[in-house]
Every structure is written in C-alpha cells, then in structure tokens.
Symmetry: C2
Subunit: 537 residues, 2 copies
Amino acid sequence: MKEKDLLARLGKLRTKSGTVETPLLFPVINPSIQPVSPNRLKEEFGFEAIITNAYILKKRYLNQPIEMGLHKFLGYDGAVMTDSGAYQILIYGGVEVDQAEIVNYQEGIGSDIATILDIPTGWKVTKNQASLTVEETLRRAKDFFKIKTRDDILWVGPVQGGRHLDLVTKSALEIGRLPFQIHALGSPTEVMESYRFDVLVDMILTAKKNLPIERPLHLFGAGHPIMFSLAVALGCDLFDSAAYALYAREKRYMTENGTWRLSELDYFPCQCPKCSRETPKNVLDKSAKEQEIFLAEHNLYACSGELRRIKQAIRDGRLWEYVEIRVHSHPALLTAFRKLKEHKDLLEKHNPTVKSSGLFFSDSEGLSRPEVTHYRERITKRYSHPKGSRILLLAPQTYNKPFHKASEFQKIQQVLKRLESSMLHKIHVCFYAAPFGVIPLELDEVYPLSQHDNATPVEDATIRYVASEVANLIMRSNYEAVTLIHDPQNWSDQVKNACKKSCLTKGIKFSHLVLKEDSTKNILTRLEMILRKNLSE
Amino acid sequence: MKEKDLLARLGKLRTKSGTVETPLLFPVINPSIQPVSPNRLKEEFGFEAIITNAYILKKRYLNQPIEMGLHKFLGYDGAVMTDSGAYQILIYGGVEVDQAEIVNYQEGIGSDIATILDIPTGWKVTKNQASLTVEETLRRAKDFFKIKTRDDILWVGPVQGGRHLDLVTKSALEIGRLPFQIHALGSPTEVMESYRFDVLVDMILTAKKNLPIERPLHLFGAGHPIMFSLAVALGCDLFDSAAYALYAREKRYMTENGTWRLSELDYFPCQCPKCSRETPKNVLDKSAKEQEIFLAEHNLYACSGELRRIKQAIRDGRLWEYVEIRVHSHPALLTAFRKLKEHKDLLEKHNPTVKSSGLFFSDSEGLSRPEVTHYRERITKRYSHPKGSRILLLAPQTYNKPFHKASEFQKIQQVLKRLESSMLHKIHVCFYAAPFGVIPLELDEVYPLSQHDNATPVEDATIRYVASEVANLIMRSNYEAVTLIHDPQNWSDQVKNACKKSCLTKGIKFSHLVLKEDSTKNILTRLEMILRKNLSE
C-alpha cells in the first residue's frame, strides 16, 4: 500500500501475471462480441487487467481455453480475473454447473483472480430470501477450500446480504475469517440502476467494517465513472465494467458527470483522443458498428481518465474534495454523500491524520470530514484551557489564517497588551470558526486548523455546529466569565445565544460586544472595560 | 443565437475570415515564442480563432505583418483578433504608441476583431484613479470612430472601472451607446489571481446589465478552465488564454478542477490525447522544451474540452447543474456562486422559461435558480386559490412526483373521497416541497414543478425558504382554516411554526397532524375528523 485517504488506498496487487495497481478497473471481456480487443485494452488504453466470465467460457468454448490457456485464448498478457456465473444466477435464476466444476475450470484455464460460485442476493428480496443467499454463499465459501488445488490464484470471497445490513455484517464477518485474498460486495448493480447510492454507501461501509481491512474489496458490477470516486473513498479497490460495452451497444455515452444518448450530443463533453478528433454529427453518420466501437472506446477513456483523477486525488490527500465535486453530478449521489454523516467515526479511524495539502471546505457536508471528527475528539477529550485562565474571550474567525496573526485580531491584541501581565494570563483567547468550531489561540497553527479554505457565507448547519462546540467548551471548562465578540453579520445570533445559555446554566457571567465595521475604537474601549471589570470581580 | 441558458448563449459571430461559434476561446499567440503553431491550433486542436497583440507585433515586426497580411504572417486562416497594448499599459504603466497609430496598424494588418487603446483600471486602485481610466477609455472610444477607416473589422469597446461597480455601470452604459460590435470587460486578471471570483461576479453582472445584451462580451485575460463555466453562465461569450502557454512555461498543468505543478503529478488527471499516452514520470524525463510543449498542448485540450462540456450543458439546459459541479473545485468559486443570490432577478429575466430537461437541485444555492424565482413571482402575483375553497390542506412532498399521483398522497386522497362533494370543493390541497415552496395540487404537473430531482435531506436554508413561502400563501389568501400534515423527520418544526404564526396573525384556525410511519390509519381518521369539523364550523 502506497498512500491512503479516507478509506481509499493506492495499493499493489500481486498476481501470477504481474503486479497491478489499485484502485483498478477490469473491463469485462465477452470473447464472442468484443468491441475492443483485449490486447488493445492493454497497449492503447492502459488497462492492466481484464475480467471475463468462466461460466460462459465453459459453456461456449468448452475445453479450448483450458488447452490454450486463458491468456493465450484471449490474446492478453496482463492479469485476468474470472467471474463464476453468479451473475447469471441472479439474472436467469440458475446455472448449469456446480461449484466444484466452475472452481476446477478456473484453475484449469489459469485465471489470475477467480471467484467462487456465490449466490447473489439481489435487490427486491425479503429478508428470508436474502438470508438464504448469505447462508448458501458461506457454505460454498467453506466448501471451496476443500475443492481448490492451486495456490497461485487469488480467490475472491463475495459478501452478500443486499440491502439487509445485518445480513451484510454477518456475511462479511464470516467470510472474512476464511483465507480469501480478495473480497467482493455482491449485487450492487440493481442498487445503482435505481440510483439508490445512499443504500450502496451503507452496504459498502457495513462490509468494510466487518471484513479484514487490508484485503482488497471488489465492488461487483459497478462500471460507471460517475460513482467510482465515492466508492473508492469508501474503500472499494476493484471494479469491473461491462457498462462501457453495453452502453456503447445502446448508443450511450458515459462520462464522470453522467450519461447521454449519442443523438442528444451536439458537442462531445470530453477531451479524450476519440472526442478531440470527431464531432457527434460525424459519428452519427457512421455505421452502427463504427458508432458502437467509437462509443466503447470513448467510454473506456472516460473510465481510465476518471480513475487517474481519483488516484491523483488520493496522492494529493484531496479525495474528499474530489468526491465533493463529483457527487454534485446527480442529487442521488449527493444524498449518498450526506450519509457519511452517520459514518464519521469509521472515516476518522482510517484517515491519515496529517496530509500534504490544505483542506477545502465548501458545504456543511464538510462537517463529516475525518479531520473535523478528529479535532472534535481531541478538543473534547484531551484539551483543557491554560492553568490560571479565568475568562474566556471568544473572537470570530478572521479572513486570513492563522487567526492570531490576522489584522482583525491584531487590534484586539492591542487591548490585551494594555492589560497588566498579571491580568493577561487570566484571559484565554479562543476563536470561533468554520468548520472546526472553537480554536484556542495557542493551537491555531496546528494542522489543519489554519490550513484550510472555506466558502462563505458560512452555512446554517455549520453555524449551528460551531455554536454547539462553543457551548460544549464552556460547559466542560471552569471559566468564571465569558466575553464574546459577536459578529451578527456572519454568524447570526446562534453563537451568542449558545454562549449565553451555557453561561446561564453554569451560573457564570456572560458579556458580549457587537462587531460593527464603523466603530472599532468603541468596541476596543468597551472590550478593555469588560475585561478589567471581570478580572476585578 | 441558437440556444440560451441562464445568461449564457450559443451564438454565431460573423468575421471577415469566417463565422465562429461562441462561447469561444482565443488562444494567445506570441509569434516569437509560440509552443504550438497557429496552424496546428486550428487543424489539430480545433480552435477557430486566435488572438495576438498588435502593439507587440508593431514593435517587433514593424511593417512586415502589414505587407504579408496578418493571416499569412501568422500562418492561420481562421479569425484573428488583436489586442491593442492596453495590457502593457497595465503592466508597464504605458506604451509607446497612441491610439490612432494602433488603430491604423490593426486596420493595416487586417485583424478580424480589433481593440481600441483603452486604459485598464487594475485591481488595487483608488476610486479616483479608477474614474480617470474610465473617463479616458470613454474619450478614446468616442475618438476612435473618427479614426477608423475600414468597415469589415469588428471593433471591441472595453468596459473599465475595476471593482468600483458604479464606475463599471457608467462605463458600460456610455460605451454601450457607441456602435461597437463587441464589448469586453477589462482587467479581471488580477481579480482572478487573487481568487476574488466573488468580485468578478459583481463586475461581470454589472457590465452585462448595462450593456446592450445582444452584443458579445469578451472577458479579457480569463484563460483558466476552472472559471469558464461560471463566466459563461453570467453572459461572457469570448475568452482569451495566454495561460495555456504561460503555465506550460512554468511547468504547470491546468484542468477544470485546478492547477498542478508537473512535479506533483503521479497520474495525469485527464484523458486528453497527450495524457492518455504518457505518464508524468516519462514527461519529467524529457527536455525542458519538450515538457513545455507537452504541457501547452495538454492545457489547450483541457480548455477546449471544458468549452465543449459547457456548450453541451447550454444545449441541454443544464448549465446551472454544470456550474454547480465546477464551483466545488475551489471554495472561492463557490463563494462567488453564492453571490448569485443577489442577482436572482437578472438571471430570471434572461433564462428561458421551459427547458428540455428536468432540473437537479443539490444545495440551497438552488434557491437562486431562475426557475425558483420565476415560480415565486408567478405564485405570489398571479395565483389565487380556487373559488369556494375555504380550508387549506398542506401535505408534505412525496418521494415520487407528481405529488398527487404518489402513493403517500393516495392515502390522503382516500380520506378526501369519503367527504361529500359539497365539502370536497371547499378544501384546497397544496404540497410543501423543496425547493419551490408551496405547490397547489392543481399545478403540480406544470413544468418544472414535477420535473426535478433533489438531494436529501432538505437543507436548513431550503426548509426556511419553504416555511416562508407557506406563510406567505396563508397571509395573502383568505382561507378560513389551515390543516397541516406535519412531517417533523424531514422538515423539523419550521413549516409548522410558520403556519401557526401566520394563522394566529390572520386570526384563523390552525390544526396539524404528525406524520409517523407506524400510525397511518390513525392519522387518516384524525384528518377526516379535523376536516369535517372545520367544514361544519
């Protein structure tokens, strides 16, 4: 593993045909109707791995792939993964092989990564039905280890349970105890087709939480670039895409922003080698087969470009920022992203504490970021205000950071300097600031408290969060008085009201000054008066 | 003009060297150090127009471009625009030509689009200084018409004033009265370099509002794809980019999501023909000159790809959605986007009323959309509830739309059907819904009230808006009673409190039922009871 960000990681996966880098997309190969040859997928498009279906190979080509070897049969020298026919069980209700046959076949053809014959749960099933698929998959997973004979193949142990999260938990826990090298989350295709990305977030994170975290996780059947970044951020390492070819056959054009029919396009919203050389009008004049190949190739470029953007974002420590851009492509993705609020602790647990870059905060979704969770934990559980400080002086965030160096604070600093030093150390200055809440002056250069940019004005939900963090600080500390420099223009009355209420509850004195641009001098005079009065009491 | 969306338009601009399509980007050509030849810009990269600097041409090449003709001199047969040296005034404080000379020179070389010698205002100047630049620019603009001799050149009349919006207003109004074919907004470069996109929004819209709307507007010196979509949405039609080459010289890599140094890249976050064939590591091994050319070409692909995405978004009627994705690339862009709240009416004035597609609403910024403004105007000024209706029944939005066909409403409908028809017509059903506020049942299929998707949960600012719209309806109508089906899980107490307060003010009866998943039957029984009681009073 090279780098981590959120639950995502840049990693290496060693297969017998070479080492591949994750996150990784396996284009699905259908040997009988393949718009782009496996060889070109590697040489021209840079795909280091592909996936094909062992069940279909067996049915159509019998022993030929065994005799030739899978790689020679496909004309591909990268890593080849095979699926087992489980998808066909989901679609057609059953397959004409048993697990031993399909495991032996995959060993026979020499897959690099292979899959047991699991039973997909599907989407619209009752809990009882779902439970049966989980039990049968687990039974087969255990059986499998008695069947397998080769040790150089990476085997995939799928997690089932569908939208029934308790079943997903059970499935993940039990299959995680078996020595599979890779896990997979089954049947999200239908979840995605109905745009229930919110359900998918819960499914993925439930699986992640209960599987051995170091093993790669494959999200089966998730082949649209619109959701790669979110899934990677949640810890999915492997993807397969039949969509690039299926969409092409239906004359559909995919991008990380969404899908178009070719006939809807006046301009190609993409700069890939195909789209930089052609216009939709020209492509529509070509034969159906040429259109299909054009679209398949564009779709592949769209997928590989998106994966590179995601990898670079992980490398930059900016995956949150990237996902935030991407989820604005569809309200259903943003709805799913907002679900991360419920999974803050899991995100925080795995996210690296210090990154190479500053953070961008745009919307109140940023409150779910691991950095915010981490800081809250730290300030709540491991922080107490400087010994001897009796008065909390709360100042609003400044335009530039760190706060204590900003010009707005320099003015307040002048007032403080006028106080005798015996008084000064009784005053504790904290800033209230989006999105971290309350930041003691002595911490304001600690990463990332000054290393971030925020969109303004501060949103309601963030104001509310900051107000509650200020109140929490007052409640758990033993200040004797609180003085607030109140900035109604940017913070409404919420911070003030929260302070006032906590002071009332604690029975301590609360004073406030209202920040107005035109009367800085008066404010400073009043501030000095209040502080001196509080200190003399 | 072909299509419109927000203040953006797809248009055609006729020049003497051919018709070009807007929005249009002119790559800046520096004949002495040009990384990509003008001919390749057209043939390989598809740029229909370029811009070069007449002042520099005159200084360096004297009469040669006049003798050869500009197009032959540059080796380019598309449209060529020339700037006048105004940028050099801004940077170096002055130029060694007067306006007559540079106007004559541009006529002499045969520019297709040419610029008078305006005086750029710049960024950090006092209002007095700014005012002088506006006055002098206007004086020269008037003088110009006495100097010019050719009628086949499109002349640009620049608007100055910088961040002083009253000066921008004056400048735009006065120059708009002169018969220029094109206008330009001067000196936004420094505004953009300091990331004050919020100031830029005000500058652009102030210019737009006061210029003849049909004339194309050029945003001078705005060459980074990160802000094209926002500027186009605000009505900028023309851009020039020296950045593609300047950034390349500094080893910087630009995308619609931001800028990287080449040395920071492990992966190319792009699928352009350059980035699909190389890795950053390979490019870093090349010579400095090769690196520069690679980056210049990538930067050009990044710009042209982004312009195609924008054009397709205009064509789809989805420019708002596209800008919303893009502004999440940087908090300063989102801050600027939030400024549109102050310009709702201008956006509404020019936006087409009906589009070919449904709308996506993600964040509360969506409340500034022209469709929301338009609906609010209509419902406030031109709507009154059905004659004879006495009781307002408010139901929450449903999962599927139109509301009156959704299963949640069907249950309520059953209660209504149990009432005698003489009672029924006294009840007026409205839905409270994000983001449009309050939607009378009889209107719920009118575009776009059912043709939109929203991210959930509904954000605070949107809840507040909906609550205020519900209150407004009650205040301006003459219902005798209001019954609210209250959904505290999704709407907190705000809608309820707003209803209650308005009813109290109006002195009419208010009742409410609390929606809970487990007691639908009780709710319906109570609903019938309340309605019958209200109707019998």
